[in-house]
Symmetry: C2
Subunit: 328 residues, 2 copies
Amino acid sequence: MDDVARRAGVSRALVSLALRGSDKVSPASRAAVERAASELGYRPNLNARNLASKRTSTFGVLINDLHNPYFPAVVDGIKRAADEAGYRLVINSAFLDEDAEVAAIDAFVEFRVDGVILVGARCGAAAIERAAQAVPIVLVSRPLASDVVDTINNDDHLGAQLVVEHLVSLGHEHVCHVEGVTGAGGPERRAGYVETMERHGLEPHIQPGAFTEASGVDAAERALDDGRPVTAVFAGNDLSALGVLDVLDGRGLAVPGDVSLVGYDNTFVAALRHIALTTVDQNRQRLGALAVEALLERVEGGRTTARHEVIPPELVVRETTGPPRSLG
Amino acid sequence: MDDVARRAGVSRALVSLALRGSDKVSPASRAAVERAASELGYRPNLNARNLASKRTSTFGVLINDLHNPYFPAVVDGIKRAADEAGYRLVINSAFLDEDAEVAAIDAFVEFRVDGVILVGARCGAAAIERAAQAVPIVLVSRPLASDVVDTINNDDHLGAQLVVEHLVSLGHEHVCHVEGVTGAGGPERRAGYVETMERHGLEPHIQPGAFTEASGVDAAERALDDGRPVTAVFAGNDLSALGVLDVLDGRGLAVPGDVSLVGYDNTFVAALRHIALTTVDQNRQRLGALAVEALLERVEGGRTTARHEVIPPELVVRETTGPPRSLG
DNA sequence: CTGAAAGCGCTAACAT
DNA sequence: ATGTTAGCGCTTTCAG
């Protein structure tokens, strides 16, 4: 930086200002600085900058599992909003390991990021709340009643309700639900399902599941062997719906002819023409954007109380749902 | 840090050594330091550390497109190898935008990461080679003849050969290839296909494509309407194979009964039971691990010449390939 | 094994 | 509009 200053014939401070686009620099010196910098191939040292300015203009994003097709859209939303607000992103993934999650959060803290967004984090609330003392944290897709961290979620209860209403309106009475896991919307979706079924005077039929393809397979097999009639399946998420779909196929049951099928999340797999799964869209981009917004409110707006946002999801009807056979 | 030193009754330098696990610290003072640090909730400032030590023990990983199911496995491999070597990771995604890619690389340079891994980068070679003057760079899944950056790739030519051999050994003579894009193995796969077809005295039948589902749909429609017989399709990657699959389904053609289908990449979608696509596995974890290895050789081993690694892929036979109907 | 001192490369008042 | 002066929090000689 000294070299740049010398070459441009100005002081270091001026170089600093010019390079950051301050308006208190004359066009002439700015040009000189920029030319000198590029001639010298100068790259500012972010570590030094962050150290001196005591801020990083960076948000840390932790993705629970990079393999899960649920996450990219959320990150897209975060990225877009962060760009707009002038914040950089550092992304990390914990690869499903809770300890790694905590370690990654610690690393963010040590980097002195200005805010942390945890997407689908599975680690304990205690670890999160502890870290929240050092940096603003917002949780996406992980409900948590806390008054130190913000949360942004879709309304799983409503989503489930939309699904059941859709199936019921098609004429279904025997809708089976494949459960999902706790901490990722499973119980909320289940509750929405049960409540809506009962409101229509229908009997809930629930099979345990775990948001995985394999669990969808198991659940479908149990459901079909169970004896109770099943004309539609509401799987807890898209992945488990694919497991269900495979079993239906394997048993020669037409979809939606014999059995209708609905997933949740609207991942790209659901949109594949070959699958064309009816599902629920959480508007993940918006979830991400809201997370950034929440962070900005704390970092730049000085908010200190927790904000818990819940946004309405939307039903996406594709080709796996139709009237039950009995209504032809 | 001063506080920690005071509380532990030692000097700052000692704290620094103790916290980084140096062996020149007495167990007693180490314990005192650790206790003091945890009591005070002390978090070292990575920016200060990086600045003072002139290294970050961090590798930057740039993923071309977070949505592409191809990448996570590569990052897994990188993560594992980096962990083992004691390096931290910062991941970033360019979301398919070339300018964003260059910006992300610049950001890595400014962070002074010790090395950069570009996974499937699409940006110009010039930008990459320029950045390579500031930091060691290795390209994964992007062939590039360069003597300043390392590359790690699977052998696309061999992969295509494996596919054609498999289909020919099943009795197929009319194998159509849906092309992929340049810079991501497309031309190499095509060349392997053409060469192997010709070696068997078969006539190549190529349809343009772009590694997307939609391009697979278009290519399949053209291929089936073209007049030439088609008993098998070798799609450039899994995604385009899904497009082909949808067209085959739509036209009532059984897979593999009427037409066999093969993809490339072995993404999780290919492994879904409902799809069960025969495909080629690049061993992406290994690609990632090798990338870290290459970086370590430069950072710690002092290598300065480029290394270009090509690893053999493996055919994964699932349920979309079988003998042609004529051999029934 | 420990402590003192210098400085990593930058920003942020404060002067001018 | 531009230069001066202190640090930011840590690591790293170098002397004890």
